[in-house]
Assembly symmetry: C2
């Protein structure tokens, strides 16, 4: 795959780069960021961002590179939707559908199905491309994400067994079939038949038998979206029923912002490193 | 002074807030950010940002709060210029003069002199206001900054002896009278008579007898502005001649970006903490 470098900056003991490439999954050009420590071990974490974000938010706000550099962990930060003049957006320009809101699903409904194929993009195109381009170890890839990206991390890991050796999330949308953000997105991308949504809903995937060995989830108790949109309670119940090792940390005083991610990102980097066979303290 | 809180987010062991207040120095409303660790010691660092920035860039990109929380150091991040409908901007909308480019001077030339009084704003209004509002220790205040803000840190510290107990800078504009950015700004704000510029030029201030005991400067060797705009060489000579303890670190591979600041901010926080009487490791 041809990645064109559009920026490259030294940061901590490594290089933070941004690439553009033509995607056959989305039929658009796509951008993504990758942090490569000098001490790269071949282990990597894919971080999926939330609504309205691009690769940039996590890359400039989370501060993950410091610990990644110490651990020898590569970080891949994809965009959150296809973009470009020909890509349709929410007719009203809403922030929670269309551009910046791909929800990591493969849309089946016109006009979205032509470009909004973020699940295939991440799993079948970007990740294999990065494994080849950056000499990563396919058996030591973790996934994490925030909010819509937490939903992406959980559903991609649950739906593609064996792809990700470690999983974590910040404030994930756990049951999109049962919250306003998710109902809008899944109805729009996948159609009104709710039976078709279950493969894109972490709680439903677990109910239907998908399994993870363990997952780390941080959520702030002052997160304004906690009760209505995230439904961490449903993930907790589903993991309990399915015997999935959920390490759920409710962080008093913290909210839905990147300030929360920055605070706890080191713990997540270490969580992944331990499960990807890296030396941690 | 009445500070109106416009946001507040928990981050590491403290709170990141943004305030708005009416400034008599600039005759505008001004915004600034402050990070207050739970373990606040009364010591604080003022961080002045560079061209095009607001309080936000340093606050969300530098990752200073992690170490500030450990050290008990408060961080104050002002805006870089007055703003608002009545504030004049560069006629051509250039990034290096007018809005986002106040250069931490008190303009003497119309129309800039009505609002562009960032030196007085920081020294005589914001800092005393923060000392009172946040219970800071006036004898334990440090100052740092980046690029234009590094120029601000050096010139404010040199020009107001006794105000700042510790000084550092990232990629500072060291001799604005001798570089394109500075010549444009000082001519615009202070007029064509170059003798009036010397109090707003770190190298000239030192030549004219102003002193610091010591200063830490980090600059990247891949900084695109190093040779033409920053003139670190002139600062190095001036400090040598004046017996000022300059710790100058030329960082191979690093550039002018916030990726560089994020990489070395912990060193700067520790530099200030040691000189402000805080416990460091």
């Amino acid at each position: 795959m041809a990645f064109d470098e559009i920026s490259s900056n030294r940061m901590f003991g490594g290089v933070q780069s941004v690439y553009r490439h033509d995607s056959s999954a989305t039929s658009t050009a796509m951008e993504f960021a990758v942090y490569r420590p000098d001490s790269a071990t071949g282990a990597a974490v894919v971080f999926l961002s939330g609504l309205t974000c691009t690769w940039e938010n996590f890359t400039v706000k989370a501060g993950a590179q410091r610990m990644a550099s110490e651990l020898g962990l590569t970080i891949i930060a994809p965009d959150t939707s296809p973009r470009g003049g020909s890509v349709p957006d929410d007719p009203g320009g809403a922030y929670d559908f269309g551009l910046g809101a791909g929800f990591y699903v493969d849309a089946t409904q016109a006009p979205w199905s032509a470009n909004y194929r973020m699940r295939s993009y991440v799993l079948s195109e970007l990740l294999p491309g990065c494994i080849e381009e950056f000499d990563l170890d396919a058996s030591r890839i973790g996934i994490s994400g925030h909010s819509m990206g937490g939903h992406g991390a959980l559903t991609l890991a649950l739906g593609a067994p064996g792809t990700f050796a470690s999983v974590s999330a910040f404030a994930p949308i756990c049951a999109p079939s049962q919250c306003p953000w998710g109902e809008k997105a899944l109805a729009g991308y996948l159609g009104d038949d709710r039976s078709g949504w279950r493969g894109s809903d972490a709680v439903a995937l677990i109910e239907d038998g998908a399994r993870l060995s363990e997952v780390l989830v941080d959520v702030g108790l002052d997160d304004a979206f906690l009760a209505e949109q995230l439904r961490i309670d449903l993930l907790e119940s589903a993991c309990s029923d399915a015997d999935i090792g959920l390490t759920l940390r409710r962080q008093a005083g913290f909210d839905h912002s990147y300030y929360t991610i920055a605070t706890f990102i080191d713990d997540h980097m270490n969580w992944h490193a331990q499960r990807l066979g890296l030396r941690t303290e």
